[in-house]
Symmetry: C2
Subunit: 393 residues, 2 copies
């Protein structure tokens, strides 16, 4: 570890894996890692208040640059001096750069060297997102962690397209860093650690898809740009063999400095999380727990290394008077029955989404807490192999 | 007051109006009157948990026989021994009889002497609701207060149609009482008070629309049936001159025994409530605060006798960083800004409905509490004339 680097401190390391616990020091608070970041696309985690979000165990919120740029827009966010005072989340916030949303939500967007041009569907307005603009937006949002603008390949399996996208992302990363330094009065927080006070950080994005030579090039080039942390992209793009995904992450976490925090973009299921912790990931984000909740799929811990999921709309819950989750810290989950929750889903009562979201985020944050304690008691190396999903009969 | 009648106790009376405070003793708790009953159509007040509902100041919940009959259905409610254990509301529940919903929601329903036949739109199934069936359903729901099945006139202004509906409702009231006595092992709680333990009550429904002679006949005939309380119907059917509405209620609360509780069906705005309290009403229910909340209209107390409403989607709130309601007991309403609430509404985030519903129900229950204390301090007689709605500039 670099002696000057006190953005992130590693506490405990696993012996046979790359798993580690640490603390990330950010302007709006500390984050114990490995950590999961719930998605608050428009600033809010759907159906929850910030007190509830905190009570699920959330430490850091992910929000989306693209969506916030459109709604509520920059002038309002500027007036509130950032997202924190607008949405009332006083903890750390990470924002993505907007690249992925434009890529996935907007057809007919045009990517050139300058940036991405796209049409806002509601208004027909044509907007341009460049590396510089993404930095400006994220500075207005006042994200504790901002990400560089990434260029997404139009096809996941084509080598040349992935090489181009990866190289463009690197060129954009350089421009992002330049703009960032300009916006932060010449200061740069890289390997030299952080400059007296806690400051917002800019993470680079490592790409390369399934091509290990591209993964290697991407990570090595990022090293030179000296970001204080890294996000690894391209892991939530579609089906891929398990070994291939693990190999990609393994390679990049080996190249990128061990002492810097690493975030895996858009991943994943509980099983994914446990595996990628073993491969050196510290931060995760995914719509999986919250989106599943809104569709009536709830996650439950069966025992220390087994979890399950249940479709609450299943007939078997029709008259199940047992509580939604007797182990929950939320009174409602301990007292409302599965049968009643099913009724709420059946009748599209919005309370259903809240109860299911509370359950799933509490499950996720309990999992992260369990992972951290397994690492700290040196049980992780044995435990992570056993961790599994069990379909209930 | 009848010395044996301890279902309802009157504490304080206004001198120049019929306003009074009282306590209604019900199996699931006491209700301080005048009281407002929030609407939990399907068992739940949209977007709220029961703890939140209680925290708004709610004492008693209104739920709908018709909707519960269809979803979740009787066998499930029977298994849960009623609605209370299903929806987790441990306080008193009043249910309407289903008559109004079939009338207002279902076209092509046929009313004959036996009951009302209607088609369930989702399934195409034809169902018959009779006075007896309504009593059976409400007994399964285990409502603290059940209402007799009412027959609604197809036209509000036609004398003969209203006379027919009113007379049919009286004949049905007799059948309801008979069925009720059968379902309750021969016991009847009327003027003779209540029989040792707190028991569920059946309220008669007074009708007659704008025709004072029909109002008189309806109330006088109900007296003979000796219900322990009364609901006055036909007040939420459409525009009518203010004096006419007041005269109708005035007449019927004069005829019906003073010492029995009186409920005004489906009313109303804050101004309505204050007025009808002065005309002897003890219980109110209305979708007004909750439906308005979901459409972004919030009520606020300006001072002791003035309130206002605000459309939170109005441009003027775009960048209003002041809290939604600095006087609220809810942390979220004291800390989230109007600007942020507007953003939540604009982006259709369901949290918006919850915050607005909390605000409006808290406003309504504060209003009821204010009315009760005005009566008890003998200030009501002066106060109620001044109570007014003020449109904000």
């Amino acid at each position: 570890m670099s002696p000057d680097f006190n953005v992130f401190q590693i506490y405990c390391k696993s012996v046979t894996t790359k798993a580690r616990t640490g603390v990330l020091y950010l302007p709006h608070g500390n984050v114990c890692t490995p950590a999961f970041m719930p998605i608050g696309t428009l600033g809010t985690v759907k159906s929850l208040t910030m007190s509830e979000l905190l009570a699920t165990g959330a430490q850091i919120l992910l929000s989306n640059t693209y969506h916030l740029w459109l709604k509520p827009g920059l002038s309002l966010l500027a007036q509130f001096q950032g997202l924190h005072q607008f949405n009332n989340w006083s903890g750390p916030i990470l924002t993505d750069s907007g690249g992925f949303q434009i890529f996935s939500l907007r057809k007919n967007n045009i990517t050139d060297e300058q940036g991405v041009t796209f049409t806002v569907p509601e208004t027909g307005e044509v907007r341009l997102l460049t590396p510089e603009i993404s930095m400006q937006i994220q500075t207005i949002i006042n994200s504790d962690i901002a990400l560089v603008l990434d260029s997404l390949p139009p096809e996941e399996t084509n080598y040349n397209l992935n090489k181009e996208a990866m190289e463009k992302t690197l060129r954009w990363a350089k421009r992002c860093k330049q703009e960032w330094v300009k916006l932060h009065q010449g200061q740069w927080i890289g390997s030299t650690g952080y400059l007296g006070t806690r400051q917002n950080l800019l993470f680079g994005i490592a790409q390369g898809a399934r091509f290990l030579d591209l993964r290697k090039q991407s990570a090595e080039a990022l090293l030179e740009l000296d970001f204080p942390g890294y996000s690894i992209g391209g892991m939530a793009m579609g089906p891929e063999p398990e070994e291939s995904r693990l190999a990609q992450v393994d390679l990049q976490t080996s190249i990128l400095e061990e002492y810097k925090p690493k975030h895996l973009l858009g991943v994943g299921t509980p099983l994914d999380i446990v595996k990628f912790v073993a491969y050196g990931i510290d931060l995760f984000d995914c719509v999986y727990p919250t989106r599943n909740a809104r569709h009536g799929t709830l996650f439950f811990e069966l025992d220390d290394f087994t979890y399950t999921s249940e479709r609450i709309l299943h007939k078997k819950f029709l008259s199940d008077s047992s509580p939604i989750n007797p182990k929950s810290r939320f009174l409602e989950l301990r007292t409302y029955s599965k049968s009643y929750l099913r009724h709420l889903f059946k009748t599209k009562e919005v309370l259903a989404y809240r109860l299911a979201t509370l359950n799933n985020l509490e499950f996720y944050h309990n999992l992260m807490s369990n992972i951290r304690s397994k690492i700290e008691t040196q049980e992780f190396d044995k435990w992570w192999h056993k961790f599994t999903f069990q379909k209930r009969p």
